[in-house]
Protein backbone atom coordinates (compact mmCIF):
# COMPACT_ATOMS: atom_id res chain seq x y z
CA UNK A 1 0.00 0.00 0.00
CA UNK A 2 1.50 3.26 -0.97
CA UNK A 3 1.04 6.78 -2.17
CA UNK A 4 2.77 7.95 -5.31
CA UNK A 5 3.70 11.55 -5.99
CA UNK A 6 4.98 12.94 -9.27
CA UNK A 7 6.30 16.48 -9.21
CA UNK A 8 7.38 18.30 -12.35
CA UNK A 9 8.34 15.11 -14.18
CA UNK A 10 10.19 15.88 -17.42
CA UNK A 11 11.70 13.55 -19.97
CA UNK A 12 14.06 14.45 -22.78
CA UNK A 13 15.87 12.34 -25.35
CA UNK A 14 18.85 14.49 -26.18
CA UNK A 15 17.40 17.88 -26.98
CA UNK A 16 13.90 16.65 -27.66
CA UNK A 17 11.62 17.01 -24.68
CA UNK A 18 8.83 14.44 -24.79
CA UNK A 19 7.24 14.91 -21.35
CA UNK A 20 6.73 18.49 -20.32
CA UNK A 21 6.13 18.37 -16.60
CA UNK A 22 3.59 16.08 -14.97
CA UNK A 23 2.33 16.64 -11.41
CA UNK A 24 -0.03 14.34 -9.56
CA UNK A 25 -0.59 13.07 -6.04
CA UNK A 26 -1.91 9.53 -6.05
CA UNK A 27 -3.67 8.35 -2.93
CA UNK A 28 -3.18 4.92 -1.44
CA UNK A 29 -5.25 2.33 -3.28
CA UNK A 30 -6.21 4.65 -6.10
CA UNK A 31 -6.38 3.42 -9.71
CA UNK A 32 -5.08 6.10 -12.04
CA UNK A 33 -5.53 5.62 -15.78
CA UNK A 34 -3.16 7.44 -18.10
CA UNK A 35 -4.97 7.80 -21.40
CA UNK A 36 -4.03 9.42 -24.67
CA UNK A 37 -3.29 8.77 -28.34
CA UNK A 38 -0.21 6.83 -29.37
CA UNK A 39 2.96 8.83 -29.04
CA UNK A 40 1.59 11.12 -26.34
CA UNK A 41 4.16 9.96 -23.80
CA UNK A 42 1.86 7.88 -21.58
CA UNK A 43 3.98 4.74 -21.74
CA UNK A 44 7.15 6.75 -21.20
CA UNK A 45 5.61 8.23 -18.05
CA UNK A 46 4.73 4.77 -16.75
CA UNK A 47 8.18 3.43 -17.57
CA UNK A 48 9.74 6.29 -15.65
CA UNK A 49 7.72 5.28 -12.61
CA UNK A 50 8.86 1.69 -13.17
CA UNK A 51 12.50 2.73 -13.39
CA UNK A 52 12.87 1.50 -16.97
CA UNK A 53 13.45 5.04 -18.23
CA UNK A 54 15.47 7.67 -16.43
CA UNK A 55 13.70 10.77 -15.17
CA UNK A 56 15.26 13.85 -16.74
CA UNK A 57 13.99 16.20 -14.05
CA UNK A 58 11.36 16.26 -11.37
CA UNK A 59 10.70 13.97 -8.44
CA UNK A 60 9.12 10.57 -8.08
CA UNK A 61 8.08 9.73 -4.55
CA UNK A 62 6.65 6.40 -3.47
CA UNK A 63 5.41 6.53 0.10
CA UNK A 64 7.33 9.75 0.55
CA UNK A 65 10.70 8.32 -0.46
CA UNK A 66 12.37 9.85 -3.53
CA UNK A 67 13.06 6.95 -5.87
CA UNK A 68 14.20 8.69 -9.08
CA UNK A 69 17.39 6.70 -9.26
CA UNK A 70 16.36 3.44 -7.65
CA UNK A 71 16.58 0.22 -9.67
CA UNK A 72 13.16 -1.17 -10.68
CA UNK A 73 13.50 -3.97 -8.17
CA UNK A 74 14.05 -1.48 -5.34
CA UNK A 75 10.86 0.45 -6.05
CA UNK A 76 8.49 -2.23 -4.81
CA UNK A 77 6.46 -2.14 -8.00
CA UNK A 78 5.14 -4.82 -10.30
CA UNK A 79 4.37 -4.36 -13.96
CA UNK A 80 2.03 -5.98 -16.46
CA UNK A 81 3.31 -5.58 -20.01
CA UNK A 82 1.38 -5.16 -23.21
CA UNK A 83 2.74 -8.37 -24.70
CA UNK A 84 2.79 -9.93 -21.20
CA UNK A 85 6.56 -10.57 -21.40
CA UNK A 86 6.19 -14.06 -19.96
CA UNK A 87 9.40 -16.08 -19.88
CA UNK A 88 8.66 -18.60 -22.64
CA UNK A 89 10.82 -21.40 -21.25
CA UNK A 90 9.38 -21.31 -17.73
CA UNK A 91 6.16 -22.86 -16.50
CA UNK A 92 3.33 -20.65 -15.32
CA UNK A 93 4.28 -21.30 -11.71
CA UNK A 94 7.95 -20.45 -12.36
CA UNK A 95 6.97 -17.30 -14.19
CA UNK A 96 4.87 -16.17 -11.28
CA UNK A 97 7.43 -17.10 -8.65
CA UNK A 98 10.54 -15.80 -10.43
CA UNK A 99 10.74 -12.50 -8.56
CA UNK A 100 10.39 -14.28 -5.23
CA UNK A 101 13.05 -16.77 -6.22
CA UNK A 102 15.43 -13.93 -7.00
CA UNK A 103 14.55 -12.35 -3.66
CA UNK A 104 15.59 -15.70 -2.10
CA UNK A 105 12.30 -16.38 -0.41
CA UNK A 106 11.94 -19.90 0.99
CA UNK A 107 10.56 -22.45 -1.48
CA UNK A 108 7.52 -23.16 0.63
CA UNK A 109 6.55 -19.53 0.79
CA UNK A 110 6.97 -19.11 -2.98
CA UNK A 111 4.75 -22.11 -3.68
CA UNK A 112 2.16 -20.84 -1.24
CA UNK A 113 2.00 -17.36 -2.70
CA UNK A 114 1.93 -18.64 -6.27
CA UNK A 115 -0.85 -21.00 -5.31
CA UNK A 116 -2.86 -18.19 -3.71
CA UNK A 117 -2.49 -15.90 -6.72
CA UNK A 118 -3.33 -18.74 -9.10
CA UNK A 119 -6.46 -19.46 -7.13
CA UNK A 120 -7.52 -15.84 -7.28
CA UNK A 121 -7.02 -15.82 -11.06
CA UNK A 122 -8.42 -19.32 -11.71
CA UNK A 123 -5.06 -20.41 -13.03
CA UNK A 124 -4.61 -23.44 -10.79
CA UNK A 125 -5.08 -26.05 -13.54
CA UNK A 126 -2.41 -24.39 -15.67
CA UNK A 127 0.45 -23.93 -13.24
CA UNK A 128 2.63 -26.59 -14.88
CA UNK A 129 2.10 -25.36 -18.43
CA UNK A 130 4.35 -23.23 -20.56
CA UNK A 131 3.04 -19.86 -21.75
CA UNK A 132 2.76 -21.04 -25.36
CA UNK A 133 0.21 -23.66 -24.27
CA UNK A 134 -2.15 -20.97 -22.97
CA UNK A 135 -4.78 -18.82 -24.65
CA UNK A 136 -4.39 -15.06 -24.87
CA UNK A 137 -6.68 -14.45 -21.92
CA UNK A 138 -4.85 -17.00 -19.78
CA UNK A 139 -1.48 -15.46 -20.60
CA UNK A 140 -2.88 -12.13 -19.58
CA UNK A 141 -3.91 -13.66 -16.26
CA UNK A 142 -0.46 -15.11 -15.74
CA UNK A 143 1.03 -11.67 -16.31
CA UNK A 144 -1.37 -10.36 -13.68
CA UNK A 145 -0.49 -13.23 -11.40
CA UNK A 146 3.19 -12.47 -11.68
CA UNK A 147 2.44 -8.96 -10.48
CA UNK A 148 0.14 -10.06 -7.67
CA UNK A 149 2.49 -12.69 -6.26
CA UNK A 150 5.04 -10.03 -5.42
CA UNK A 151 2.54 -8.15 -3.26
CA UNK A 152 3.98 -4.82 -4.43
CA UNK A 153 3.21 -1.30 -3.29
CA UNK A 154 2.24 -0.22 -6.79
CA UNK A 155 0.90 -2.01 -9.88
CA UNK A 156 1.86 -0.66 -13.27
CA UNK A 157 -0.19 -1.72 -16.28
CA UNK A 158 1.07 -0.93 -19.78
CA UNK A 159 -1.88 -1.42 -22.15
CA UNK A 160 -2.45 -4.89 -20.73
CA UNK A 161 -5.61 -5.63 -22.71
CA UNK A 162 -4.68 -4.39 -26.15
CA UNK A 163 -3.65 -7.82 -27.43
CA UNK A 164 -7.01 -9.41 -26.59
CA UNK A 165 -10.11 -9.63 -28.75
CA UNK A 166 -12.97 -7.27 -28.01
CA UNK A 167 -15.10 -9.62 -25.95
CA UNK A 168 -12.28 -10.83 -23.76
CA UNK A 169 -11.13 -7.27 -23.29
CA UNK A 170 -14.44 -6.33 -21.68
CA UNK A 171 -14.31 -9.36 -19.42
CA UNK A 172 -10.70 -8.82 -18.34
CA UNK A 173 -11.39 -5.16 -17.76
CA UNK A 174 -14.01 -6.07 -15.19
CA UNK A 175 -11.69 -8.63 -13.62
CA UNK A 176 -8.85 -6.15 -13.30
CA UNK A 177 -11.15 -3.62 -11.71
CA UNK A 178 -12.52 -6.16 -9.23
CA UNK A 179 -9.05 -7.44 -8.40
CA UNK A 180 -7.64 -4.00 -7.87
CA UNK A 181 -10.54 -3.16 -5.56
CA UNK A 182 -10.05 -6.34 -3.63
CA UNK A 183 -6.29 -5.99 -3.23
CA UNK A 184 -6.44 -2.23 -2.75
CA UNK A 185 -3.06 -1.73 -4.40
CA UNK A 186 -2.26 1.70 -5.81
CA UNK A 187 -2.20 1.33 -9.61
CA UNK A 188 -1.19 3.20 -12.72
CA UNK A 189 -2.80 1.96 -15.88
CA UNK A 190 -1.87 3.09 -19.37
CA UNK A 191 -4.31 2.75 -22.26
CA UNK A 192 -5.26 4.46 -25.49
CA UNK A 193 -8.83 3.21 -25.16
CA UNK A 194 -11.10 5.85 -23.67
CA UNK A 195 -13.77 3.30 -22.73
CA UNK A 196 -11.19 1.42 -20.65
CA UNK A 197 -10.20 4.70 -19.08
CA UNK A 198 -13.78 5.66 -18.24
CA UNK A 199 -14.69 2.30 -16.73
CA UNK A 200 -11.51 1.60 -14.77
CA UNK A 201 -10.24 4.88 -13.49
CA UNK A 202 -10.70 6.40 -10.09
CA UNK A 203 -9.01 9.34 -11.72
CA UNK A 204 -7.49 9.68 -15.15
CA UNK A 205 -4.67 11.67 -16.68
CA UNK A 206 -5.57 12.70 -20.22
CA UNK A 207 -2.27 13.11 -22.00
CA UNK A 208 -1.47 14.77 -25.29
CA UNK A 209 1.96 15.50 -26.74
CA UNK A 210 3.71 15.08 -23.41
CA UNK A 211 1.34 17.30 -21.49
CA UNK A 212 -1.36 16.34 -18.99
CA UNK A 213 -4.39 18.01 -20.52
CA UNK A 214 -6.55 17.14 -17.56
CA UNK A 215 -6.39 15.12 -14.37
CA UNK A 216 -9.71 14.18 -12.83
CA UNK A 217 -12.38 11.58 -12.27
CA UNK A 218 -13.94 10.10 -15.40
CA UNK A 219 -17.15 12.00 -14.86
CA UNK A 220 -15.24 15.21 -14.25
CA UNK A 221 -13.47 14.82 -17.53
CA UNK A 222 -16.65 13.89 -19.33
CA UNK A 223 -18.78 16.61 -17.84
CA UNK A 224 -16.24 19.40 -17.52
CA UNK A 225 -13.39 18.73 -19.97
CA UNK A 226 -10.55 21.13 -19.28
CA UNK A 227 -9.42 21.42 -22.88
CA UNK A 228 -10.73 20.81 -26.37
CA UNK A 229 -8.40 17.84 -26.60
CA UNK A 230 -9.78 16.20 -23.47
CA UNK A 231 -13.28 16.98 -24.62
CA UNK A 232 -12.81 15.27 -27.95
CA UNK A 233 -10.71 12.37 -26.70
CA UNK A 234 -13.15 11.24 -24.02
CA UNK A 235 -16.64 10.30 -25.14
CA UNK A 236 -17.78 8.38 -28.19
CA UNK A 237 -18.58 9.52 -30.76
CA UNK A 238 -16.32 12.51 -30.23
CA UNK A 239 -17.70 15.87 -29.21
CA UNK A 240 -18.66 18.28 -32.01
CA UNK A 241 -16.55 21.39 -31.73
CA UNK A 242 -17.40 24.44 -33.83
CA UNK A 243 -15.81 27.87 -33.98
CA UNK A 244 -18.13 30.65 -32.84
CA UNK A 245 -18.25 34.23 -31.51
CA UNK A 246 -19.44 34.51 -27.96
CA UNK A 247 -21.81 37.32 -27.12
CA UNK A 248 -22.62 36.99 -23.42
CA UNK A 249 -24.43 33.70 -22.97
CA UNK A 250 -24.93 33.12 -26.68
CA UNK A 251 -22.41 31.63 -29.09
CA UNK A 252 -22.95 32.65 -32.70
CA UNK A 253 -21.76 30.12 -35.26
CA UNK A 254 -20.23 31.14 -38.58
CA UNK A 255 -23.58 30.79 -40.35
CA UNK A 256 -25.22 33.23 -37.92
CA UNK A 257 -27.08 30.71 -35.76
CA UNK A 258 -26.99 31.51 -32.04
CA UNK A 259 -26.75 28.81 -29.40
CA UNK A 260 -27.41 29.44 -25.72
CA UNK A 261 -24.39 28.28 -23.74
CA UNK A 262 -24.91 29.13 -20.11
CA UNK A 263 -21.39 30.58 -19.95
CA UNK A 264 -20.58 34.27 -20.02
CA UNK A 265 -17.93 35.00 -22.61
CA UNK A 266 -16.96 37.25 -25.45
CA UNK A 267 -14.81 37.05 -28.55
CA UNK A 268 -13.64 34.00 -30.51
CA UNK A 269 -14.52 30.70 -28.84
CA UNK A 270 -15.03 27.07 -29.65
CA UNK A 271 -18.36 25.62 -28.74
CA UNK A 272 -18.54 21.94 -27.93
CA UNK A 273 -21.66 19.79 -28.09
CA UNK A 274 -21.67 16.08 -27.34
CA UNK A 275 -23.62 14.09 -29.97
CA UNK A 276 -25.65 12.37 -27.26
CA UNK A 277 -26.70 15.70 -25.72
CA UNK A 278 -28.41 16.97 -28.84
CA UNK A 279 -32.17 16.46 -28.83
CA UNK A 280 -34.71 16.53 -31.62
CA UNK A 281 -36.85 19.62 -31.44
CA UNK A 282 -38.83 20.94 -34.42
CA UNK A 283 -38.24 24.45 -33.05
CA UNK A 284 -34.53 23.91 -32.17
CA UNK A 285 -31.93 26.33 -33.53
CA UNK A 286 -29.68 23.70 -35.10
CA UNK A 287 -30.84 22.60 -38.57
CA UNK A 288 -28.87 19.54 -39.66
CA UNK A 289 -28.68 18.40 -43.29
CA UNK A 290 -28.49 14.66 -42.77
CA UNK A 291 -26.16 12.84 -45.09
CA UNK A 292 -26.31 9.41 -43.53
CA UNK A 293 -27.83 7.53 -40.61
CA UNK A 294 -26.15 4.63 -38.83
CA UNK A 295 -28.60 2.66 -36.69
CA UNK A 296 -26.56 0.87 -34.00
CA UNK A 297 -29.55 -0.65 -32.21
CA UNK A 298 -29.53 1.12 -28.88
CA UNK A 299 -28.97 4.43 -30.61
CA UNK A 300 -28.64 5.92 -34.07
CA UNK A 301 -25.81 8.12 -35.31
CA UNK A 302 -26.75 10.86 -37.74
CA UNK A 303 -23.99 12.37 -39.85
CA UNK A 304 -24.59 15.70 -41.53
CA UNK A 305 -23.71 19.35 -41.56
CA UNK A 306 -25.20 22.72 -40.79
CA UNK A 307 -26.17 25.06 -43.61
CA UNK A 308 -23.20 27.21 -44.51
CA UNK A 309 -20.66 25.24 -42.46
CA UNK A 310 -18.61 22.53 -44.13
CA UNK A 311 -17.59 20.73 -40.92
CA UNK A 312 -19.30 17.42 -40.23
CA UNK A 313 -21.61 17.14 -37.22
CA UNK A 314 -22.60 13.91 -35.50
CA UNK A 315 -25.77 13.49 -33.50
CA UNK A 316 -26.61 10.43 -31.44
CA UNK A 317 -30.30 9.73 -30.86
CA UNK A 318 -31.54 6.96 -28.57
CA UNK A 319 -33.41 4.13 -30.27
CA UNK A 320 -33.72 3.12 -33.91
CA UNK A 321 -34.32 5.73 -36.57
CA UNK A 322 -34.55 4.58 -40.14
CA UNK A 323 -32.57 6.39 -42.75
CA UNK A 324 -35.58 7.04 -44.95
CA UNK A 325 -37.43 8.64 -42.06
CA UNK A 326 -34.46 10.75 -41.14
CA UNK A 327 -33.43 11.58 -44.72
CA UNK A 328 -33.33 15.19 -45.56
CA UNK A 329 -33.05 17.41 -42.57
CA UNK A 330 -34.05 17.73 -38.95
CA UNK A 331 -33.82 20.35 -36.23
CA UNK A 332 -32.11 19.92 -32.87
CA UNK A 333 -31.61 21.79 -29.65
CA UNK A 334 -29.09 21.42 -26.86
CA UNK A 335 -29.43 22.42 -23.22
CA UNK A 336 -27.27 25.46 -22.32
CA UNK A 337 -25.59 23.55 -19.46
CA UNK A 338 -24.57 20.78 -21.90
CA UNK A 339 -22.65 23.25 -24.04
CA UNK A 340 -18.91 23.53 -23.47
CA UNK A 341 -17.05 26.71 -24.30
CA UNK A 342 -13.32 26.80 -24.99
CA UNK A 343 -10.96 29.64 -25.69
CA UNK A 344 -10.29 29.62 -29.44
CA UNK A 345 -6.63 30.45 -28.91
CA UNK A 346 -5.56 28.22 -26.01
CA UNK A 347 -8.23 25.56 -26.26
CA UNK A 348 -8.84 25.85 -22.51
CA UNK A 349 -12.27 25.67 -20.98
CA UNK A 350 -14.00 28.97 -20.29
Amino acid sequence: MATVTLTGIHKSYGKTEVIHGIDIDIADGELIVIVGPSGCGKSTLLRMVAGLETITSGDLLIDGARLNDAEPMDRNIAMVFQNYALYPHMSVADNMGYALKIARRPKGEIAERVQAAAKMLQLEPYLARKPRELSGGQRQRVAMGRAIVRDPAVFLFDEPLSNLDAKLRVQMRLEIKALQRKLGVTSLYVTHDQVEAMTLADRMIVMNAGVAEQIGTPLDVYERPATVFAAQFIGSPAMNVLPARAEGRVARLANGIGIETGTDASGDVLVGMRPEHMERDPDGPIALDIRMAEPLGANTLLHGSLAGIAQEIVVSLPGVHREDVMAGSARFRIAPEACHLFDAGTGRRL
Binding site: A50, E71, M79, N83, A85
Partner: protein, 281 residues
Protein backbone atom coordinates in the same frame (compact mmCIF):
# COMPACT_ATOMS: atom_id res chain seq x y z
CA UNK B 1 5.66 -29.08 -54.96
CA UNK B 2 5.74 -29.86 -58.62
CA UNK B 3 4.83 -33.32 -57.46
CA UNK B 4 1.25 -32.36 -56.85
CA UNK B 5 0.64 -31.99 -60.54
CA UNK B 6 2.13 -35.09 -62.09
CA UNK B 7 2.22 -37.79 -59.52
CA UNK B 8 0.95 -41.15 -60.62
CA UNK B 9 2.08 -43.89 -62.88
CA UNK B 10 5.37 -44.37 -64.58
CA UNK B 11 6.85 -40.97 -63.83
CA UNK B 12 6.28 -41.60 -60.14
CA UNK B 13 8.45 -44.69 -60.25
CA UNK B 14 11.04 -43.05 -62.47
CA UNK B 15 11.37 -40.35 -59.84
CA UNK B 16 12.05 -42.92 -57.16
CA UNK B 17 14.43 -44.77 -59.44
CA UNK B 18 16.36 -41.59 -60.15
CA UNK B 19 16.66 -40.77 -56.48
CA UNK B 20 17.68 -44.27 -55.50
CA UNK B 21 20.35 -44.21 -58.18
CA UNK B 22 21.60 -40.92 -56.79
CA UNK B 23 21.66 -42.27 -53.26
CA UNK B 24 23.56 -45.38 -54.39
CA UNK B 25 26.16 -43.38 -56.31
CA UNK B 26 26.70 -41.12 -53.33
CA UNK B 27 26.85 -44.11 -51.01
CA UNK B 28 29.29 -46.04 -53.14
CA UNK B 29 32.62 -44.56 -51.94
CA UNK B 30 31.60 -45.15 -48.34
CA UNK B 31 30.36 -48.65 -49.03
CA UNK B 32 33.62 -49.47 -50.69
CA UNK B 33 35.52 -48.09 -47.72
CA UNK B 34 33.43 -50.18 -45.40
CA UNK B 35 34.00 -53.33 -47.47
CA UNK B 36 37.72 -52.62 -47.53
CA UNK B 37 37.69 -52.33 -43.77
CA UNK B 38 36.28 -55.85 -43.46
CA UNK B 39 38.57 -57.77 -45.81
CA UNK B 40 42.24 -58.67 -45.74
CA UNK B 41 45.09 -56.83 -47.43
CA UNK B 42 45.42 -59.72 -49.92
CA UNK B 43 41.83 -59.24 -51.05
CA UNK B 44 42.56 -55.62 -51.80
CA UNK B 45 45.92 -55.76 -53.50
CA UNK B 46 44.68 -58.27 -56.06
CA UNK B 47 42.19 -56.20 -58.02
CA UNK B 48 39.36 -56.17 -58.38
CA UNK B 49 38.63 -56.15 -54.70
CA UNK B 50 35.38 -57.75 -53.52
CA UNK B 51 32.26 -55.59 -53.36
CA UNK B 52 30.74 -57.40 -50.38
CA UNK B 53 31.99 -57.33 -46.79
CA UNK B 54 34.48 -59.95 -45.66
CA UNK B 55 35.16 -61.54 -42.27
CA UNK B 56 38.05 -59.38 -41.07
CA UNK B 57 35.85 -56.67 -39.52
CA UNK B 58 36.88 -57.20 -35.90
CA UNK B 59 40.49 -57.91 -36.71
CA UNK B 60 40.92 -54.75 -38.80
CA UNK B 61 39.15 -52.43 -36.40
CA UNK B 62 40.98 -53.93 -33.46
CA UNK B 63 44.30 -53.40 -35.18
CA UNK B 64 43.38 -49.83 -36.06
CA UNK B 65 42.09 -48.86 -32.65
CA UNK B 66 44.81 -50.52 -30.61
CA UNK B 67 47.88 -50.27 -32.82
CA UNK B 68 47.19 -48.05 -35.82
CA UNK B 69 50.18 -47.19 -37.96
CA UNK B 70 51.98 -44.38 -36.12
CA UNK B 71 49.66 -44.11 -33.15
CA UNK B 72 46.62 -46.05 -31.96
CA UNK B 73 43.48 -44.75 -33.63
CA UNK B 74 41.71 -44.79 -30.27
CA UNK B 75 44.10 -42.02 -29.21
CA UNK B 76 43.42 -40.05 -32.33
CA UNK B 77 39.67 -40.41 -31.80
CA UNK B 78 40.10 -39.06 -28.32
CA UNK B 79 42.17 -36.13 -29.60
CA UNK B 80 39.57 -35.35 -32.24
CA UNK B 81 36.84 -35.50 -29.64
CA UNK B 82 38.69 -33.09 -27.37
CA UNK B 83 39.35 -30.75 -30.26
CA UNK B 84 35.80 -30.80 -31.63
CA UNK B 85 34.20 -30.39 -28.22
CA UNK B 86 36.70 -27.71 -27.25
CA UNK B 87 36.02 -25.71 -30.37
CA UNK B 88 32.25 -26.08 -30.16
CA UNK B 89 31.93 -25.34 -26.45
CA UNK B 90 34.65 -22.70 -26.34
CA UNK B 91 33.24 -20.78 -29.25
CA UNK B 92 29.68 -20.97 -27.97
CA UNK B 93 30.65 -19.77 -24.50
CA UNK B 94 32.77 -16.80 -25.52
CA UNK B 95 30.28 -15.87 -28.23
CA UNK B 96 27.28 -15.98 -25.91
CA UNK B 97 29.07 -13.74 -23.43
CA UNK B 98 30.19 -11.15 -25.93
CA UNK B 99 26.90 -11.13 -27.85
CA UNK B 100 25.15 -10.51 -24.55
CA UNK B 101 27.48 -7.61 -23.85
CA UNK B 102 27.06 -5.89 -27.21
CA UNK B 103 23.30 -6.29 -27.32
CA UNK B 104 22.37 -5.50 -23.74
CA UNK B 105 24.97 -2.94 -22.70
CA UNK B 106 26.30 0.37 -23.91
CA UNK B 107 30.00 0.59 -23.21
CA UNK B 108 32.97 2.43 -24.66
CA UNK B 109 34.39 0.64 -27.67
CA UNK B 110 31.19 -1.22 -28.36
CA UNK B 111 30.93 -0.16 -31.99
CA UNK B 112 34.60 -0.79 -32.58
CA UNK B 113 34.16 -4.28 -31.16
CA UNK B 114 31.18 -4.83 -33.39
CA UNK B 115 33.12 -3.94 -36.51
CA UNK B 116 36.01 -6.16 -35.49
CA UNK B 117 33.52 -9.01 -35.30
CA UNK B 118 32.40 -8.22 -38.79
CA UNK B 119 35.98 -8.39 -40.02
CA UNK B 120 36.53 -11.85 -38.59
CA UNK B 121 33.55 -13.14 -40.54
CA UNK B 122 35.62 -12.73 -43.67
CA UNK B 123 38.84 -14.57 -43.02
CA UNK B 124 39.15 -18.36 -42.97
CA UNK B 125 42.00 -19.77 -40.94
CA UNK B 126 43.76 -20.97 -44.08
CA UNK B 127 44.56 -17.40 -45.06
CA UNK B 128 46.49 -16.47 -41.95
CA UNK B 129 47.95 -19.88 -41.41
CA UNK B 130 51.67 -19.09 -41.35
CA UNK B 131 51.64 -16.25 -38.82
CA UNK B 132 49.11 -18.09 -36.67
CA UNK B 133 51.50 -21.02 -36.61
CA UNK B 134 54.28 -18.71 -35.46
CA UNK B 135 52.09 -17.36 -32.66
CA UNK B 136 51.28 -20.85 -31.46
CA UNK B 137 54.92 -21.88 -31.70
CA UNK B 138 55.89 -18.75 -29.79
CA UNK B 139 53.53 -19.69 -26.97
CA UNK B 140 54.94 -23.21 -26.95
CA UNK B 141 51.53 -24.57 -27.83
CA UNK B 142 52.63 -26.95 -30.58
CA UNK B 143 51.38 -30.47 -29.89
CA UNK B 144 48.85 -29.26 -27.34
CA UNK B 145 45.09 -29.21 -27.17
CA UNK B 146 45.10 -25.46 -26.51
CA UNK B 147 47.08 -24.96 -29.68
CA UNK B 148 44.61 -27.11 -31.61
CA UNK B 149 41.56 -25.32 -30.26
CA UNK B 150 42.22 -21.62 -29.65
CA UNK B 151 43.02 -20.41 -33.17
CA UNK B 152 39.88 -22.07 -34.48
CA UNK B 153 37.60 -20.31 -32.04
CA UNK B 154 39.15 -16.99 -32.94
CA UNK B 155 36.35 -15.84 -35.18
CA UNK B 156 33.12 -14.17 -34.34
CA UNK B 157 30.65 -15.92 -36.62
CA UNK B 158 28.84 -17.32 -33.60
CA UNK B 159 28.82 -13.95 -31.87
CA UNK B 160 27.13 -12.53 -34.90
CA UNK B 161 24.51 -15.28 -34.89
CA UNK B 162 23.72 -14.86 -31.22
CA UNK B 163 23.52 -11.11 -31.65
CA UNK B 164 20.95 -11.57 -34.39
CA UNK B 165 18.96 -13.90 -32.19
CA UNK B 166 19.10 -11.70 -29.09
CA UNK B 167 17.80 -8.79 -31.13
CA UNK B 168 14.64 -10.77 -31.86
CA UNK B 169 13.90 -11.28 -28.16
CA UNK B 170 11.30 -8.72 -27.06
CA UNK B 171 12.66 -5.88 -24.94
CA UNK B 172 9.86 -6.47 -22.47
CA UNK B 173 11.44 -9.72 -21.30
CA UNK B 174 14.52 -7.91 -20.11
CA UNK B 175 12.33 -5.25 -18.54
CA UNK B 176 10.17 -7.82 -16.82
CA UNK B 177 13.33 -9.43 -15.49
CA UNK B 178 14.58 -6.10 -14.22
CA UNK B 179 11.25 -5.41 -12.51
CA UNK B 180 11.42 -8.92 -11.04
CA UNK B 181 14.76 -7.95 -9.57
CA UNK B 182 17.12 -9.87 -11.86
CA UNK B 183 20.53 -8.33 -12.42
CA UNK B 184 22.29 -8.69 -15.78
CA UNK B 185 24.02 -12.00 -15.08
CA UNK B 186 20.90 -13.45 -13.53
CA UNK B 187 18.94 -12.46 -16.64
CA UNK B 188 21.64 -14.02 -18.79
CA UNK B 189 21.68 -17.32 -16.95
CA UNK B 190 17.97 -17.66 -16.12
CA UNK B 191 16.39 -16.26 -19.24
CA UNK B 192 18.67 -15.51 -22.17
CA UNK B 193 20.63 -18.78 -22.23
CA UNK B 194 17.60 -21.06 -21.75
CA UNK B 195 15.77 -19.16 -24.47
CA UNK B 196 18.73 -19.63 -26.82
CA UNK B 197 19.06 -23.35 -26.29
CA UNK B 198 17.77 -24.35 -29.73
CA UNK B 199 20.19 -21.94 -31.36
CA UNK B 200 22.97 -23.17 -29.12
CA UNK B 201 22.24 -26.79 -30.00
CA UNK B 202 22.07 -26.06 -33.71
CA UNK B 203 25.32 -24.17 -33.58
CA UNK B 204 26.89 -26.92 -31.54
CA UNK B 205 26.13 -29.47 -34.26
CA UNK B 206 27.70 -27.28 -36.93
CA UNK B 207 30.75 -26.40 -34.85
CA UNK B 208 31.30 -29.98 -33.76
CA UNK B 209 31.47 -31.09 -37.37
CA UNK B 210 33.64 -28.12 -38.26
CA UNK B 211 36.07 -28.92 -35.45
CA UNK B 212 36.12 -32.65 -36.05
CA UNK B 213 36.82 -32.24 -39.75
CA UNK B 214 39.75 -29.82 -39.39
CA UNK B 215 42.73 -30.96 -41.41
CA UNK B 216 45.29 -28.32 -42.24
CA UNK B 217 45.63 -26.88 -38.75
CA UNK B 218 46.27 -30.17 -36.89
CA UNK B 219 48.55 -31.18 -39.74
CA UNK B 220 50.73 -28.16 -39.02
CA UNK B 221 50.88 -28.11 -35.27
CA UNK B 222 50.81 -31.77 -34.24
CA UNK B 223 54.11 -33.31 -35.09
CA UNK B 224 53.86 -35.80 -32.27
CA UNK B 225 51.76 -38.78 -33.53
CA UNK B 226 50.11 -39.12 -30.13
CA UNK B 227 48.56 -35.67 -30.63
CA UNK B 228 47.28 -36.37 -34.17
CA UNK B 229 43.58 -36.05 -34.79
CA UNK B 230 41.96 -38.86 -36.69
CA UNK B 231 41.07 -36.84 -39.80
CA UNK B 232 44.66 -35.70 -40.33
CA UNK B 233 46.09 -38.95 -39.00
CA UNK B 234 44.72 -40.99 -41.90
CA UNK B 235 47.05 -39.34 -44.38
CA UNK B 236 49.96 -39.98 -42.02
CA UNK B 237 49.22 -43.71 -42.27
CA UNK B 238 50.27 -43.81 -45.90
CA UNK B 239 53.87 -44.97 -46.29
CA UNK B 240 56.17 -42.33 -47.70
CA UNK B 241 58.01 -44.51 -50.22
CA UNK B 242 56.81 -47.14 -52.59
CA UNK B 243 55.67 -49.48 -49.83
CA UNK B 244 52.15 -50.77 -49.93
CA UNK B 245 49.68 -48.98 -47.70
CA UNK B 246 47.87 -51.00 -45.05
CA UNK B 247 44.49 -50.44 -46.74
CA UNK B 248 42.23 -52.37 -44.37
CA UNK B 249 43.48 -50.40 -41.36
CA UNK B 250 43.39 -47.10 -43.28
CA UNK B 251 39.85 -47.74 -44.41
CA UNK B 252 38.75 -48.80 -40.94
CA UNK B 253 40.22 -45.56 -39.68
CA UNK B 254 38.36 -43.62 -42.37
CA UNK B 255 35.09 -45.19 -41.31
CA UNK B 256 35.86 -44.39 -37.67
CA UNK B 257 36.76 -40.83 -38.65
CA UNK B 258 33.45 -40.15 -40.32
CA UNK B 259 31.30 -42.00 -37.81
CA UNK B 260 30.91 -39.37 -35.05
CA UNK B 261 30.00 -36.41 -37.28
CA UNK B 262 27.71 -38.57 -39.41
CA UNK B 263 25.92 -39.84 -36.32
CA UNK B 264 25.55 -36.27 -35.10
CA UNK B 265 24.08 -35.14 -38.43
CA UNK B 266 21.61 -37.99 -38.67
CA UNK B 267 20.58 -38.00 -35.02
CA UNK B 268 20.14 -34.25 -34.91
CA UNK B 269 18.99 -33.66 -38.44
CA UNK B 270 16.54 -30.88 -37.58
CA UNK B 271 19.08 -28.97 -35.50
CA UNK B 272 21.72 -29.56 -38.14
CA UNK B 273 19.60 -28.09 -40.92
CA UNK B 274 18.63 -25.19 -38.73
CA UNK B 275 22.26 -24.58 -37.86
CA UNK B 276 23.27 -24.63 -41.52
CA UNK B 277 20.55 -22.19 -42.52
CA UNK B 278 21.27 -19.94 -39.52
CA UNK B 279 24.97 -19.80 -40.08
CA UNK B 280 24.62 -18.92 -43.75
CA UNK B 281 22.02 -16.22 -43.23
Amino acid sequence: MAGMVEKRGLSHWLTHAGLILGVLVIFFPIWLAFVASTVSQQDIVRPPMPLLPGDQFFENYRRALVAGVNAPVAWMLFNSMVMAMGIAIGKIVISLLSAFAIVYFRFPGRMLFFWLIFLTLMLPVEVRIVPTYEVIAGFGMLNSYTGLILPLIASATATFLFRQFFLTIPDELAEAARVDGAGPMRFFVDILVPMSRTNIAALFVILFIYGWNQYLWPLLITTDPSMNTIVMGIKQMFPSGDDLADWPVIMATSILAMLPPVVVVIAMQKLFIRGLVDSEK
